[in-house]
Chain length 350, copies 2
């Protein structure tokens, strides 16, 4: 039986209002619609904010008046009433709000982007992981030369792990900054990021205490990728070389954090500060460009040039409903917890 996670209202925990329900049946497809089965869907930061009621784009699908969360993932066409898609095609939602945390969905063909067939783990991180890393680097690449350095924070994230690998393919080197943690945990994370090709891996504390300043001498640090903002972002801005670009694409440090633009940063170092918004960046690409980009990115994974970051796979099967509910809600609860350096969880439907 088709199942779905849904929520109504707001819960401070971001999980207490989440219920697994059984979807009785789907009405016959209207022209232009397709019936989909979900292959994989990630639990992303954006989904956690949506569950807490804090994201401006609300879920677009409801079942019995409750919203379906999950803004990313890949799905397979089961039945099509639109000439653009045939059964077996793989797609992802074009826009925020789709509701991927369900085993089946009916959607308008116009809201779907075709995706080459790939591993469910790749599909789960394709849009908000791989596309983010790819597009940020592609848009910044013309201002960088081979051998130039990129500095990024929050570097245990899926995006950061992909940035390390994609930067390397373009001939750029990376400084990856991760939050302070126990010595053992730090050593393990550092080893993993270095194994992916990370050139320098360091902690926020090392950066703050200036212990690494010799490491940066003579390096052209042309790009900072900031998913934290606040003090962590400020430290990276100060490290950028003249003419560099600071890209802000996340705000893990919270709603009140700021970055201060000084004369030194703006006029002497001539830095550009710009936000990155995936929806805007993708909308600027034609359908054909999107197709080519997704094909290229998936090719990098399929050929082994890019390794899939470590992911926690949560199986979404049609077994015992109570057990399934506990497993799925448990995964969301874990993701909502404040523990640092968590491995990203993804739902894989079987």
């Amino acid at each position: 039986m088709p199942t779905a996670l849904t929520f109504a209202g707001v819960a401070a925990s971001g999980v207490d209002h989440l219920n697994l329900i059984t979807v009785p049946s789907f009405p016959p497809l209207k022209t232009g619609e397709v019936l989909l089965k979900t292959l994989a869907a990630p639990i992303n930061p954006i989904d956690l904010i949506v569950l807490k009621g804090g994201y401006p784009v609300k879920p677009k699908s409801t079942i019995d008046g409750a919203s379906v969360p999950g803004y990313d993932g890949i799905l397979e066409v089961v039945e099509s009433a639109d000439p653009a898609f045939a059964p077996g095609d793989v797609v992802m939602p074009k826009e925020h709000g789709f509701g991927t945390w369900r085993t089946h969905a009916v959607a308008r063909a116009a809201d779907l982007q075709r995706v080459p067939r790939t591993d469910p783990r790749v599909g789960a991180i394709l849009k908000m992981g791989a596309c983010v890393a790819w597009v940020i680097l592609a848009d910044a690449a013309s201002a960088l030369k081979p051998g130039d350095w990129i500095i990024q924070n929050g570097a245990t994230s899926v995006v950061a792990q992909l940035v390390i690998q994609m930067a390397r393919l373009r001939g750029f080197k990376t400084i990856s900054v991760i939050r302070d943690r126990s010595a053992d945990d730090f050593t393990e994370k550092k080893r993993k990021l270095e194994a992916l090709g990370g050139d320098i891996v360091m902690s926020e504390g090392e950066l703050e205490r200036g212990e690494a300043v010799d490491l940066f001498a003579g390096k052209n640090i042309g790009l900072a990728l900031d998913c934290v903002f606040g003090e962590s972002g400020q430290r990276m801005a100060e490290l950028l070389s003249p003419g560099g670009t600071f890209v802000a694409f996340g705000q893990l440090s919270g709603a009140n954090s700021t970055i201060t633009l000084t004369m030194n940063l703006v006029f002497f170092k001539n830095l550009t500060f710009r936000p990155f918004r995936l929806s805007k960046a993708l909308a600027a690409r034609s359908d054909e460009e999107m197709d080519r980009m997704l094909e290229h990115i998936i090719g990098l994974f399929n050929s082994g040039q890019i390794k899939v970051p470590e992911l926690e796979v949560v199986h979404w099967d049609d077994g015992n409903p109570a057990e399934l509910s506990q497993r799925l809600r448990g995964a969301v609860e874990h993701a909502q917890s404040a523990k640092i350096g968590k491995t990203k969880s993804i739902f894989v439907m079987t």
Copy 2:
């Protein structure tokens, strides 16, 4: 006799060390050199900083060990030992440091950009006035639609007066913010900027007190041009519409002023902050693009589509040396004074 203003060392006043000297004679030209007579040269903020020793690019020409100030202006070829130029050609320096505050100069042809013949007043503001306004608007234009608004501060400046007129030619509207001053002076400045086509002219105080907030409702303010930084820049950033661009090209508020990037500005309003540096923007253009751009800009003045901003013409003739020295140094002293809303002075050689 050829004359020149020169200075040695640093003077806090930025004028006490400035002397008018007579240049005895020029040696025969070497291959690749040209002899020039200066037609007009402005007294720009950059020159005032150079005289105070505060600008990183130092004067490149010296006479008897003293530096020649003046980084902008137009000159006419008198004699040429390079096939690129013939007597009668008009040129401007390609880079900072040339030394235009002199009646004659010997220069390498490679350091000169050809300029169509025009009024000396246009020539004096061509590079650091008209090119700045033109290039900022040209580089930002693709992100604006006709009817969009541009907000700018320090709006009595030559650049701002040209932005008002050039924005209008592109179908954009302008909000021009000027510093607080006496009621009569404000009324006069406002009237003049409106006569040039300025749509809204207001004071920093009006903006700070929020008196104008109704004026902005429903307007798409897509571009802020900031030559002040600090609080004035911050106010403009807060007024930008989502997706807008903030261009910082001056720092009249002093070396310690800052602008604070908040979550609202970066993530919700998705604003880009970038510096504008004329030398970098011009270097990105090919020789042919430069030629076409200068021809177009001068055409706008010559056809009357753009009015030359009000300028204070200081005649640099070969009359009584003591009188001439007093006149030229007096003009620099006036420019160095803290009085607000001064009319830009230019030297016109006769």
